[in-house]
Subunit: 365 residues, 2 copies
């Protein structure tokens, strides 16, 4: 007997980046923060009394949502705390997308969107961004409207390119598009301060906007699974009170997330460290011949040097892996000739550069 | 603009038990364990290095699933680790129930099933158990087959009555029913050893069975949000690799769950303590005139003494609450005249009994 729905029987699951058990592997493949989380997180964990685990946690993570509302100058009712950003994405599909509703998939992008759309039995229509700039096409909103798209996701800064769309680009899209937009800001903490990127004020003018943020990247807490969503109170309230699993955030995660958010000094310093490492790594990779768009994230999309006719990006990915360094290579149109490289710490970046130099040198000999 | 699906716009969310902020309240309303978790959980937490939180957790909680497979003498591919039992329930609806498929809701039961069925836009057909025994009707499977039920959930031991269905009752139902059955064993750890309750061997004979277990109750870890499912490898693999949120269990939860499971000595002793307290509390409540079916869980369903014509169960619930003691009262047919009372520790049970005595005495004066 087969109890599985046909749409799920026929789909593939999301492929996540490798998580090797070997601790000596240099992991530059899943965009984890180069530095550990704030010492305040360790202090909060040391104070946590496991006797309290006997009890259910705060059901809607209210203290955490209040803290996030303060941080973004919003009402608490506009904030949902989620198990990573992924839970927010799933909740939006569950809450807003009925079978056969159309989802607009912007490619290249986060392939989890497609997975979630397939689970929702949604129709998926793809819209391509073009290398090397990955601009949002000026007619994207009108094409999506013509196609009856009900929901789309825009990653900003964009992954896997790292580029930041300007505020007026986003605003124009929100004005014109008639469906719901998830602005996926998983990497927004790494945007250079000169851009003064701050999207939550857009919520006052656009009722079709939901913003995703995460503590996985900016706060170095990928292992803790905490993200959040910002949006209109009526939609957020529906997610919180109807479609969310009750007690979605455990007591320890709520406690440590608050501790991390309270130490903004550590967080901001850590973002600046990553930015400096990013610019330095980009310079050095460019010196090796890689073509790399400016990134406002903690990763770089590095296209192979044009003179290396014998090496594919896949081959370089494999050669790095054989030498204990993991980066990400996607078997997808338009980025098959590139590697997505997470900005590591000083030692990791140095090892990466030295190893790449060897691989490229061996090839040109 | 309203982006919310009509089925979700028109439904109510799940109402969870009150979680008061006041620590002096005696909480006997959400069936939390009377005792704290194993000291091994505290020891594991003390050893946890928060620097590791920078990294994503083990994606499918493989070490935890291996441990659970050993515990139940199953293959690891038959085990999924979930964020509480609730995530397993949600995943089964997502994976197996398309809009308009029929869900069989056995009442009284866990109202979250209905909530999840509404989110799935499923048709819900109700089947009543009758007080005071809450037997599964002998013709239940054939009626469900006639109604085209695709999925149903059986709570065993049953909530809110606490009674245990015998193995052959469950087997007969599984043999006859053509749909998928979730056997919700959230409270199975509290079953008296004399019943030798052990359902996982049923999986070898019944391909329409999934078993839900939880660490929330038996291991006193409601605050940690860890449960698991046992089933056929093909269905479990679909949940793990397709419909589950990637990284559904954070690194700390995986670590502490393993520590709790490894200390079976503590767990078994704690279950025995709860059983003894349960029998003693039941005796004392019966002496006050309450009618209480035998319970194999950590709670009692107490019907009001027949001679108290002036007091409703709701009034007693409110009088207890006014005196700082929370129990659960359900505004639902067939259990409106009863209170569901979690078995607390010795002091909590004594306070409850003394306070109930006062309330009943005040009324009869």
């Amino acid at each position: 007997m087969n109890f599985i729905r046909p749409n799920i029987r026929h789909m593939h699951g999301y492929s996540f980046g490798e998580q090797p058990a070997d601790p000596t592997v240099i992991k530059l493949n899943t965009n984890e923060h180069a530095l550990p989380p704030s010492p305040a997180v360790a202090a909060a964990l040391a104070r946590f009394d496991t006797a309290d685990l006997r009890r259910y946690p705060e059901p809607t993570a209210l203290p955490l949502r209040r803290r996030l509302a303060d941080l973004h100058d919003l009402d608490t009712r506009q904030v949902i705390a989620t198990r990573g950003g992924d839970e927010l994405l799933r909740l939006l599909f569950t809450t807003c997308i009925a079978p056969d509703n159309a989802f607009g998939m912007i490619t290249p992008g986060y392939s989890l969107y497609t997975t979630l759309a397939r689970i929702a039995d949604s129709r998926i229509i793809e819209y391509s961004l073009t290398a090397p700039t990955y601009d949002l096409p000026a007619d994207l909103a009108s094409r999506m409207n013509d196609d009856g798209i009900r929901f789309t996701c825009i990653v900003n800064p964009h992954a896997p390119s790292g580029r930041l769309y300007a505020r007026d680009t986003i605003q124009r899209f929100l004005d014109e598009f008639r469906g719901l937009v998830l602005l996926d800001e998983a990497y927004a903490d790494f945007v250079s301060p000169q851009h003064a990127w701050n999207s939550p004020p857009l919520l006052a003018e656009h009722d079709n906007l939901v913003i995703l943020r995460s503590l996985s990247k900016g706060y170095a807490l990928a292992g803790l699974r905490v993200g959040y969503g910002l949006g209109q109170a009526d939609l957020i309230d529906t997610l919180v009170s109807k479609t969310r699993d009750s007690y979605n955030l455990d007591a320890i995660a709520q406690c440590l997330a608050l501790a991390a958010l309270d130490d903004q000094t550590h967080a901001r310093a850590s973002w600046e460290t990553v930015r400096q490492a990013r610019e330095s790594l980009r310079d050095r990779l460019q010196q090796l011949g890689f073509q790399i768009p400016a990134s406002e994230t903690n990763f770089l999309l590095a296209r192979l040097p044009a003179h290396l006719t014998n090496l594919t990006a896949q081959a370089v990915y494999q050669a790095l892996k054989a030498r204990g360094i993991l980066v990400r290579w996607f078997d997808q149109p338009d980025i098959r000739d590139a590697l997505r490289i997470t900005v590591g710490n000083a030692e990791e970046n140095a090892r990466l550069l030295a190893t790449l130099q060897t691989i490229l040198h061996d090839d040109t000999e």
